[in-house]
Subunit: 375 residues, 2 copies
C-alpha cells in the first residue's frame, strides 16, 4: 500500500481506488462505539458560546482531520500546479506571499455536522451540532494562479491534493478533492496562508490550504501539496465514495457541495456541567446566534419560543459566505422553556423540523432545540 505522509509520494488523481472495497459499515441504532469516541476527542467542535463572536478564534473553530495532522516545514514547502495547463508551476511559500492577496470572511461547516443525532446513526465522526466556525482567510486567489499557469480549453475540473495520508474505506490515499472549473475560477476561492491574520495553525492546514466559500468543509483541502487541472471528472475516494448523498450503500448518490441553510443559538444562561441543561434568571435576556447558507444570503431567522415562531433581527452580513448575527429580546418567565431557531435563505430553502436521513449522514441542518429552566 502507498500511505506515507513523511515521504514525498505523489498520488496520481484517481490512483489508489481499491477494486476490492470492503462493504461500507452499516448505520446503527446501537450505542456509540469506541471508534466514534476516539474520533470525537480528536476532532474539535466549536463550543456554542463562541457564536457570540463574529470571527471564531482559531482554537475554537471546528476541525476535522481525516488522517494525522502533518508537521510541515514551510521553508521547504512547494505547491505544484500541473496537468492540463500551458505552464506547470512550482511555487514556494515566499513566492506565494509576494502574489496579490485577498482576505475573505468564510463560514465553514463539516458536511457531517449533526450526524450523531440521526437514527440509525452512520458510523463516522459523531458530530452533535457544533462543527462550524467563521474565519478571515488571507491568501492568493486560486483564479490568479490558474491564470498564471494557463488552463487549457478542454479542462473539466481542478484536483487538490493535501499532504495528509492514510487509509479510508480500505483505500490508501492522500486526501484529495476536486472542483469544477467554473467553481475553481470564482474570485473568492483562495489559497490561504493566514487565518484571522496569523499564520495557519497546524490543524487548519499550515502552511497552505484551499478555502472554497459556500461549500461544506471537505472542499477546502488542507496542507495543500498539489493542484492538477484534469480533463475528465476526478474519481478519488473523497469525491466518488465519501461525501455523497446516498439512500443506501448501493446507491451511487449525488455529490455533497454547498452548505445548506442553518442557524444556531448561543444557549442562554449557564449550564449544568454534565447534562448541559441551561439555567437562567427570570427577566429580560437577548437571545442571539448566527445563521448561514452556502446557497446565498440568509433572509429570515425565526426564533421558536414554546412553539411560537417570532422573527429575529438580522445584522448586516459580513460577506457573501459568512454567517449573519441574529437576535431577539425575550422576557423569560419562570418555568421550563423550549427555544429553537430556524433560518431561510434567498432560494427559499428553510431548515427542517425533522432531519431527512441519508446513508453517510451528510448535509444535516435540522432546527436546534435548547431547553432552558428559568428561575
Amino acid at each position: 500500500m502507498n500511505y506515507s505522509n513523511q515521504q514525498s509520494i505523489r498520488q496520481e488523481p484517481g490512483a489508489g481506488q481499491a477494486l476490492d472495497l470492503p462493504p461500507a459499515a452499516q448505520p446503527t441504532f446501537g450505542p456509540l462505539t469506541s471508534e466514534e469516541l476516539r474520533l470525537a476527542v480528536r476532532n474539535h467542535s466549536m463550543p456554542l458560546e463562541a457564536l457570540r463572536r463574529g470571527v471564531t478564534p482559531a482554537g475554537l473553530h471546528y476541525v476535522l482531520t481525516h488522517f494525522d495532522i502533518p508537521d510541515l516545514d514551510a521553508s521547504a514547502w512547494h505547491l505544484r500546479i500541473g496537468g492540463a495547463v500551458e505552464r506547470a508551476l512550482e511555487l514556494g511559500m515566499a513566492a506565494l506571499r509576494r502574489d496579490p492577496a485577498i482576505t475573505v470572511p468564510v463560514t465553514l461547516e463539516c458536511a457531517g455536522n449533526g450526524r450523531s443525532l440521526l437514527e440509525p446513526r452512520p458510523l463516522s465522526q459523531p458530530w452533535v451540532m457544533e462543527a462550524v466556525g467563521t474565519a478571515l482567510w488571507t491568501g492568493v486567489p486560486l483564479a490568479y494562479l490558474l491564470g498564471k499557469a494557463g488552463v487549457l480549453p478542454d479542462a473539466a475540473e481542478v484536483v487538490f491534493t493535501g499532504a495528509d495520508a492514510g487509509v479510508q474505506g480500505g483505500v490508501p490515499q492522500q486526501y484529495a478533492r476536486s472542483l469544477p472549473i467554473r467553481e475553481a475560477l470564482r474570485p473568492d476561492v483562495v489559497l490561504a496562508y493566514k487565518m484571522n491574520g496569523a499564520d495557519l495553525p497546524p490543524q487548519h492546514g499550515y502552511p497552505l490550504r484551499l478555502v472554497v466559500p459556500g461549500w461544506y468543509g471537505m472542499a477546502s483541502v488542507k496542507w495543500l501539496a498539489s493542484i492538477d487541472v484534469v480533463k475528465t471528472p476526478f474519481t478519488g475516494f473523497q469525491q466518488q465514495v465519501a461525501y455523497r448523498y446516498q439512500d443506501s450503500a448501493d446507491d451511487a448518490g449525488t455529490p455533497v457541495s454547498r452548505i445548506r441553510v442553518r442557524s444556531l443559538m448561543v444557549p442562554p444562561g449557564v449550564p449544568d456541567f454534565f447534562t448541559r441543561q441551561r439555567f437562567l434568571r427570570a427577566g429580560p435576556v437577548m437571545l442571539e446566534g448566527r445563521a448561514w447558507s452556502g446557497e446565498g444570503a440568509v433572509t429570515t431567522v425565526e426564533v421558536g419560543i414554546d412553539g411560537t415562531w417570532l422573527p429575529a433581527h438580522l445584522d448586516k452580513p459580513a460577506g457573501g459566505y459568512a454567517w449573519r448575527r441574529w437576535s431577539l429580546p425575550w422576557v423569560a418567565n419562570p418555568g421550563e422553556h423550549a427555544l429553537s431557531c430556524r433560518a431561510t435563505d434567498i432560494t427559499g430553502a428553510t431548515q427542517p423540523l425533522q432531519q431527512a436521513w441519508n446513508f453517510q449522514g451528510m448535509g444535516n441542518n435540522v432546527v436546534q432545540r435548547v431547553n432552558v429552566m428559568v428561575e
Copy 2:
C-alpha cells in the same frame, strides 16, 4: 440560585455548597451516553501526533471547560486580591503587565484523562488518553503579588475564583480551587496572560489564568477573577466534592494534586480514518513520544515491543515540570506489532500496566498501547 457569569457576582469562598446534594451518578458498565458525547465534542483533546512538538500550539492543547467559556473584556478586567492580607489589591491588566514577568514551560494534564477506559466508567468528561499539552506560560509570579499584598501569618490557603459559572452536582457555583500557602508561594506558580508568546486564547483563560506547574489542570484556574487568602481550608465544590480519589460515593477520599508519571507515544505510520488502526512500511522507524511527572524528573522511559521492554533515549528536560522527549529506533518487520511505553520518575513511581480504579476516574496513568500493522 446564583449562577451568572455575565454579572459581577462574587462568590465567597465556600459559598454555594448545597446541603441537599443529589446522589452522585454511579459509574456504569453501559455504553457511552449522549451527555458524555456532548462533553467529548466540547472539550478538546490533543491529537497524539502533536507529541512531536515540544511546545503544543494553543489550538492543539487539551481544553476542559466546566461551564461556558466566558467572553471577557480585558480592558475592563480587574483581579482582586483580598482576605487574610495586609493590603487588599485590585489590579487591571495594564498594571499586571508592568509587573516583573517570568515564562515557564509547563505540561498540563486533566486529572480525568483516561476516564473512558475505566470499567465501570465514571460519568463525566470521557477522555481517552490525550488530555494533555505543554505550553510556555508568561505572566507575573503569584508569590510576587502575594508579597505585595502581604500574607498574614495565620493564612492557610489561597483560593482562586474564575469568572466561569454554572451548576455541578446540584451546586450553583463559580469555578474555584485553593492551594496550600506553601504551594502558592513557589516561585514558578504564575498568573499568566500569555500562552506561547501570544495573548491567552479565550478557551485557555483570557485575559488571565493561574498556572500551577506539576499539578493536574484543575488547579490552574482560568478566567481568574479573584484571589482570597484564607485561614481555614477551602470547602468549595471543586475542592471538597470534585477532584478526589474516592473508592465510592460514600468515601470522603483524598484530594487530587500532582500529576502522576506518564508517557505517550506518537502512533507511528498512518491511520485508518475510522478505526485509527496504524499502518507502517517495513524498515527503520524512530519511535518517539514525551514523558512527564508532577512529582519530579522523569528518569526512565521503556518502550515495549511485542512484550519486550527496551530503554528509550531521553532528551534533556525543557524545565522542571515540562515533558521530556524520548525516542527509540526500531526496525519494523512485516506483521502486526504491539507497542507501548512506560515512564518512571525520580520518586520511583512507574506507570501501571493495569489501571487501578477510583470512583471519579482521577489520576489515570496506565501504559498506552498502540497496535501497528507493518507491511
